[in-house]
Amino acid sequence: MSETPFEQLANLDRRVHDPARLAILTALSACERADFLFLLRITGLTKGNLSSHLSRLEEAGLVEIEKRFVQKKTQTLARLTDSGREAVGGYWKSLEEIRESASQWSPAAASLVPSAG
């Protein structure tokens, strides 16, 4: 039996679904790599929040962080990993499926489905 839109919504990839992380991943999906300052400006997050979200994304294997020295200053660069690109693509695909199934879903049809147990 197929899932209802609500169940599909509940099963969305939590690593990507958070608005701040989605903003970061969307920006990174549109380029090869971007530095910390750019991500700060484009998402409007604070430094601490951005740093924390990037760390979580790196732990999840969606983002790769590289640090380098440019004119005696540390520059932090972030790029999407292959699995990160897949996760973002999969997320948008899931959203599109939810949108489609929500447009066809009605409470009357749902009440006809026998409940489990």
Partner: protein, 284 residues
């Protein structure tokens, strides 16, 4: 956060480098304006191009530093997708396609702009061939209004007359200068059209389309002058009024330079707005 916000984020990231108007378009526009001014105004000395070019280079470097310092850095998506280079060769019995060592292929963006430029230049050339020859008399630097007159006989057939272009037919200097001006419109118009297509034909980028249509329209109109003159060989009042814009290369470069400068300033404003104040709702 809504989908439209994410779309803005994606667009601003993807076009971060080419939206840096103060770095590219404005310096180029200023040099073009200076060149146009030198050709058009008698009081503008030719050596003015040297300080203006120096100032443009300085502006480009300073703006690059400014963008890096204030907005950060973005490395665009790779210009040479792996599958484009090697997709076919690994399945080919003869092995990889041989390429000259160290010789890079054109990037998709360069191919895109080059195709448009060639198409526009070709169209402009076609217009010139189809058009009856017109003589343009008048000095731009002396501030004279150009006098346009058809040089072709009344029974000229535009469908056959273009063959005469291969006979090395003589064109007077005023006509050749007019062709340079029309080519400038064509090149800049093609650039703006390419930019609009490159930026995904978005409503927010319609200024590029407007500029492209304006400049390409002037190029086509100027190149078709020979077809539009009256039977007695003289232009009508409207064409006569527009003639300095259509036949003087100085005016053409001034208009193209102004368009480029304005587009650059608008791009800069767009970038500053996109990266200035967007905020993401934070979950507690």
């Amino acid at each position: 956060m809504e989908t439209v916000d994410l779309d803005h984020i994606r667009f601003a990231t993807r076009h971060f480098n080419d939206l840096q108007g103060l770095r590219y378009a404005v310096p180029l526009g200023l040099v073009t304006l200076a060149l146009g001014g030198i050709l058009h105004f008698a009081s503008w000395p030719a050596f003015l191009l040297v300080p203006v070019s120096g100032a443009a280079v300085f502006l480009a470097l300073a703006a690059g530093r400014h963008y890096r310092r204030v907005y950060g850095e973005v490395q665009a998506e790779p210009a040479y997708p792996v599958e484009e280079l090697h997709g076919l060769s690994i399945y080919h019995p003869a092995g990889p396609t041989p390429r000259l060592a160290g010789f890079q292929q054109l990037t998709p963006r360069a191919r895109h702009f080059l195709a448009l430029l060639l198409l526009t230049a070709g169209l402009c050339w076609f217009f010139q061939l189809m058009s009856r020859n017109v003589s343009v008399v008048g000095s731009e630097r002396a501030g004279q209004h150009p006098r346009i007159h058809s040089m072709a006989p009344i029974d000229y057939d535009p469908y056959l007359g273009w063959l005469s272009a291969f006979d090395g037919i003589y064109k007077p200097p005023g006509t050749v200068r007019a062709i340079y001006g029309q080519m400038a419109y064509a090149v800049f118009g093609a650039f703006f059209l390419g930019l609009w297509l490159w930026r995904e034909r978005r409503p927010s980028q319609r200024h590029d389309l407007v500029l492209a249509l304006l400049l390409l329209g002037l190029s086509a109109l100027g190149a078709s002058l020979g077809l539009l003159v009256r039977e007695d060989g003289s232009p009508g009042p409207v064409l006569d009024f527009l003639s300095p814009v259509l036949v003087y290369p100085g005016v053409a470069l001034l208009l193209c330079g102004a368009a480029m400068t304005l587009a650059g300033l608008y791009d800069h404003r767009q970038l500053a707005r996109a990266l200035g104040g967007s905020t993401v709702e934070e979950q507690p």
